[in-house]
């Protein structure tokens, strides 16, 4: 990614971030005229956390997606298709509804542990250098299992309203989150992204093959452990606050590698920017679509992402791996 492309991406990201906070501008400026304090509260307490969460979650999905794709040497490995987000959701539901811990830190930890368990299971099922079919089947099995266990946990929960409570969150939602919640997701997310970026050169050399990377002095086992723990941390912390949001982690790295001449490791920075851009845009669609009611953001990303995924699978050849 050269400087001009990076600047264009950063500019586009700033623009959609500002749009996310300020749009629709007419009603916001009208409110400013009537009640300045209310308008400020609207921006600072409702729209800013929402935009920050979309930024952090999208960037985490982009960077983690690029990292797991580099790790598995496969462009279809993403946090959702590998069952990581489903595992995180299961961990969060178990923590709240079965174990009964409702503190935000407990929720985050449960979610991170769920994501970690899903990724570890995937690695043991599919192996380190996974064929596409094995990877997708193992990811599908883990997602299905985690989804079923999540439903079971909600059905068995002591609270009769568990399903109703959890529905919005499970579908993915950035609405009505506080600045504190944004920090709970955003700080681990930023930590994850910066730590992953430091692994970029090693993940690029992994493109030469695991054996060559080892012969060049890289500890591939440790690299694998680092990527998995960091992905679990970032994705888990975001899922705990915003629920499971799919497809960003698949799509963003694919576009990002077009900007880095196919380098899977150095694509992580671009993937983070593109992931943030896509999720903020999806949230703008949620807010501004004239439907009279709010769509879950996970539905919007799936409606855009699933056809893209189908196209990708149908055309899965070398040329499309860029």
């Amino acid at each position: 990614m050269n400087g001009r492309v990076a600047a264009a991406l950063a500019l586009a990201l700033s623009a959609v971030f500002a749009a996310s906070v300020l749009l629709p501008f007419g009603s916001l400026s009208a409110l400013f005229g009537e009640d300045r304090a209310l308008a400020t509260a609207l921006v600072v307490e409702l729209r800013l956390p929402r935009a920050l969460l979309a930024f952090a979650y999208g960037a985490t999905l982009g960077a983690s997606g690029a990292a797991v794709q580099a790790l598995f040497a496969n462009p279809l490995a993403s946090p959702d298709l590998t069952g990581t987000t489903s595992g995180a959701a299961l961990g969060a539901v178990m923590t709240v509804y079965i174990a009964g811990f409702t503190a935000p830190i407990a929720l985050s930890m449960g979610s991170v542990l769920g994501a970690l368990a899903a990724l570890t299971l995937l690695l043991s099922l599919a192996g380190p250098k996974a064929e596409t079919a094995t990877l997708l089947l193992a990811g599908l099995a883990i997602s299905a299992l985690a989804g079923a266990l999540t439903t079971l946990a909600l059905a068995l929960a002591p609270s009769p309203f568990a399903f109703y409570d959890a529905y919005d969150w499970l579908m993915g939602s950035l609405i009505d989150r506080s600045l504190e919640q944004a920090a709970f997701a955003g700080l681990p997310a930023l930590l994850t992204i910066f730590a992953l970026l430091r692994l970029g050169p090693a993940l690029d050399r992994l493109a030469l093959g695991e054996e060559v990377a080892q012969s060049m002095g890289h500890d591939v086992t440790r690299l694998r452990r680092q990527v998995i723990c960091l992905t679990a941390l970032g994705v888990g912390a975001c899922v705990a606050i915003c629920g499971a949001i799919g497809f960003i982690g698949l799509i963003a790295p694919i576009f990002a590698r077009r900007l880095t001449r196919g380098h899977p490791g150095r694509a992580m920075a671009a993937a983070a920017l593109i992931g943030a851009l896509l999720l903020i845009l999806a949230d703008l669609v949620v807010r501004l679509a004239p439907l009279g009611r709010t769509l879950p953001i996970g539905v919007v990303t799936a409606l855009i992402g699933a056809p893209f995924f189908l196209w990708l699978v149908a055309h899965m050849r070398w040329t499309l791996r860029a």
Binding site: R205, L208, E211, Q214, S215, R261
Partner: protein
């Protein structure tokens, strides 16, 4: 000796193998399928953490990190598959070396993606990746596979001239016994995870490979019977 290694062990594949290579020497490593050639290269390259000692000019290259390792040793795997469609020039650069090899005639390939190259062209690019850091020890697994006769000759001549350039050595695993005899300063024969012999002339070698030299080249020893199955 420039390289000395002993007691290299990988469970089930390598049983305490030892080897020594002098500066400037090109040693060809031959042996039947599954005899441990690749495992020995792995053990020397620090792949898979095999127990045993390796000393390259007195120091263990397996302890070096990514910044220093490519100048010490490089490894070319037998597989020519690369998962990502990088440009040829980017792949060579990822290897950590800057040397250029006009002999490989890579100029028309450098700005092409690996998935658009033929297997032989890709081999030349991957070989350039291993040669570019100009390491003290070259570990090459089947470098001439996929190459046509002309490029086989040119490649081995290039490896030979690289060794002449300084305090360097190469260990080359190769299946073609004639090529091993032609290009190697020395031939090391592996069998069942151990170094079994030096050179191709001993009677033991025919037993190991199950072939013998005849008038028209190599031919099967005792047709119908596998000499490896009897002691």
């Amino acid at each position: 000796m420039m390289l000395t290694a002993s007691g290299l062990t990988l469970p089930g594949r390598l049983f305490g193998a030892s080897i020594a290579i002098a500066a400037g020497e090109l040693v060809c490593l031959v042996g039947p399928n599954g005899s441990g050639k690749t495992s020995l290269l792995h053990a020397l390259a620090g792949i898979g953490g095999a127990p045993g000692t390796v000393a390259l000019e007195g120091a263990d290259p397996r302890r070096l990190g990514p910044a220093l390792r490519p100048a010490s040793l490089t490894y070319l795997p037998a597989s020519r598959d690369i998962a990502w469609p990088l440009l040829a020039r980017d792949l060579i650069a990822l290897g950590g070396g800057g040397a250029d090899f006009p002999e490989l005639e890579l100029a028309p390939l450098l700005d092409r993606r690996l998935d658009s190259l033929s297997t032989g062209e890709r081999s030349r690019v991957l070989i350039a990746r291993a040669l570019a850091p100009q390491p003290k020890l070259l570990l090459l697994d089947e470098p001439t596979a996929n190459l046509d006769p002309l490029w086989r000759i040119r490649l081995m001549a290039l490896v030979r001239s690289e060794l002449r350039a300084g305090n360097r050595a190469a260990l080359v695993a190769i299946h073609d016994l004639d090529a091993a005899a032609r290009y190697g300063d020395r031939i090391v024969v592996m069998d069942r995870g151990r170094i079994a012999a030096e050179g191709l002339d001993g009677p033991q070698v025919a037993q190991i490979f199950g072939v013998e030299r005849g008038d028209g080249g190599w031919r099967e020893l005792k047709p119908g019977a596998d000499p490896r199955s009897s002691p």
